[in-house]
Amino acid sequence: MLTVEGTHGPIIHAVTRAAATRGARPGARLTDARALDPALVALPADPTGDAALVAQLAIWAGRWSPLVEIDGDGLRLDVSGVAHLFGGEAALIEDMRARFAALGLTACIAIAQTPAAAWALARYRGDIPALPVAALRLDPDIVRTLERLGLKTVGALIDLPRLALARRFRGADNVVDALDRMLGRKDEPLTAAPNDPPPRAALRLEEPATHIEAAAQALERLIPRLVRQLEHRHLGARRLTLTGFRVDGSVAEDSVATAIASREPKHLARLLADKAAALNPEFGFDAFALTADWTESLGAAQDSLVEEPSGERDIARLVDRLSVKLGPDHVLRPQAHESHLPERASGWVSAIISSPGGGGGPPKAVEGGLSPARRPLHHAAHGPPPRSGEDQRPSRLLDRPEAIDVIYATPEGVPRRFIWRRAVHDIARVEGPERIAPEWWRQPSSARLRDYYRVEDGAGRRYWIYREGLIGDGRGGLPNWFMHGLFG
């Protein structure tokens, strides 16, 4: 017997069969039950643990149907068009019961025309008209009212005129609606179920496979099946999930993403091979499923009659392969942000997400940091042509600016010499400062402005250093100097 804490002491949450015969009922107070039989054993219930278990079982139940919905303390599966795969509805129920029994769970299973009827039949035995009104999943208050009115079964409600029922019970939890849902007069879609189940290929094994290559071998058979489905629906996969169902009810899964929609078996196999090898069989897999859970429409594709590789697709494939092996966070494309701060302006985005071949266009924020007054003027007929803005930015940026010691003639003047990583650099040439104010709308008010200098040391190496703050700006003591980038 399990209990939860109620307002007036523990309330019985669930009972074993033995406890039920001794008068314990879910919803009753523990003290009342103990009064009937003091020998009852009560343990605290664990609703979160139960929910987690149900959620795990919901994934596991994907072995029978692609549409599984968690419904309170139960699961709802849409088995339309599925049952024949298991040898009919009766065989399906037997299979489910056996599998749940193997997990040590007693499952109450019912298949019905409507979800509401299945819910009721799984909990109350008998024909629909003979079911108690509680089987309609109504509010307990309404159930109590109905019972007081003498309407004890669903059949009694069906016999009543609809209009009278609708007038009497007008609340949100309408009795007529509940009745209609059960009798199939009104649709009750499984809410979690997508309208369009994702393309999916499943493989059930005769015996649990414990060897490491099991997943890879299953993949060889799953990919052609999935590709056939994708072709049929004119889709290309953007993300694929390989799921291995273990005998003990746990599930191992891993997914790969692609940069452009693809349904080429060879490419998909190459992407998934590593993931398949990494799935741990533990006690053995007895079923596999390969789901394209993110797809995009892809027309029937043949590039051209002659084999002419399309650049964009090749790049996308390269990105896929790199991302799968090195991780999507390590394969990046530049993405400019509207910001004056250099480290913020030149952002990166995972290449697998950003549009292929896009490249991000010209950086918008680069020019912004350069005030016209500070930009050197180049009007001479000879000499270097006017520098474009990009030349003013270093080709490399340190991930985190490093503090340097700077010797300067005057605190606000140009730097003369700096020490970076314990090496002394004499500054031979210097250009600047280029002042970048803090972004007050984003940064804390204590952020200090930066004065950037392009400096060249005696050996010709050029660096981008900045002084953070000014003397007397009221935001700290003496300004600090930082090394931020290297020019190429």
Partner: protein, 254 residues
């Protein structure tokens, strides 16, 4: 560098105004044969109108570039001047290279159309480079490796070179803080920054970047050392910086 450029007192090809208004692609220009070039570079100034072409491999292949110092980012300018921007660029950096000399900064690069790969170690970096080199839709693959990793041996470089030649994608192996051990690269450069040219308007500001480029091994080219700058899609020889003032005066009056 003294071996090459001593006595070279004129900015080669420096007559900026004498250049055709629409400079042709470097590859289309008449090539000065490398021996002649070396001779000229040693013996005297190049004629003001003469073109000078950087020694390049006959086909796209693996080139190795040693940064003279890990904290010297100058090589990037030299390298990027030779890389096309029409197609995307794959830039691989290993973790140590990023930590020691910074991550690439797209606003400072000629093209934003690139894919950046952060590799855990040299093995991953070489794998990513090889994947990239096989992809003909890239304009070039640049891989930066720190030090002398064990994974970078003759076989690895040879594989890259063969793959690059087969697919026609130029591959640059950049070595930061490494030593020039056995390698299958067809051209091996050592690039150091040199003091930049004088800024025409502000003598205190850095001008056009220059490099001391040392080609110490190349297939089909004699090795050589040059002081170079890059301007308007072309490389130009510059006077060694000890003679710079004289050279630049001549340049401005040319």
């Amino acid at each position: 560098m003294s071996r090459v450029a001593r006595g070279l007192s004129l900015v080669a090809g420096g007559a900026v105004s004498a250049r055709p208004s629409t400079p042709a692609k470097a590859g289309a220009q008449t090539r000065v044969s490398a021996p002649l070039l070396a001779l000229r570079a040693r013996t005297g100034p190049l004629p003001a109108q003469g073109h000078w072409d950087l020694p390049r491999p006959e086909c796209s292949t693996l080139s190795e570039l040693f940064a003279a110092h890990p904290r010297d980012g100058g090589w990037a300018g030299f390298l990027l001047a030779q890389v096309g921007t029409a197609k995307p660029l794959l830039w691989v950096q290993d973790r140590m290279a990023i930590r020691e000399s910074g991550r690439i900064h797209p606003p400072g690069l000629p093209s934003q159309n690139l894919i950046h790969v952060t590799a855990r170690d040299a093995k991953d970096a070489l794998w990513a480079m090889e994947e990239g080199v096989r992809c003909a839709a890239l304009s070039a693959v640049i891989g930066e490796l720190w030090g002398d990793p064990r994974a970078l041996d003759f076989t690895a470089t040879r594989r890259l070179a063969v793959a690059a030649e087969r697919s026609g994608v130029a591959c640059w192996l950049v070595r930061l803080g490494g030593t020039a051990n056995l390698s299958g690269a067809r051209m091996r450069w050592r690039i150091a920054s040199a003091p930049s040219l004088t800024h025409p308007l502000d003598p205190r500001a850095p001008g056009l970047p220059t490099w001391d480029a040392d080609l110490f091994r190349a297939r089909g080219h004699p090795p050589g050392r040059w002081s170079l700058t890059h301007e308007a899609d072309r490389f130009h020889l510059v006077a060694e910086h000890r003679d710079r003032a004289l050279g630049e005066v001549e340049r401005l009056t040319a």
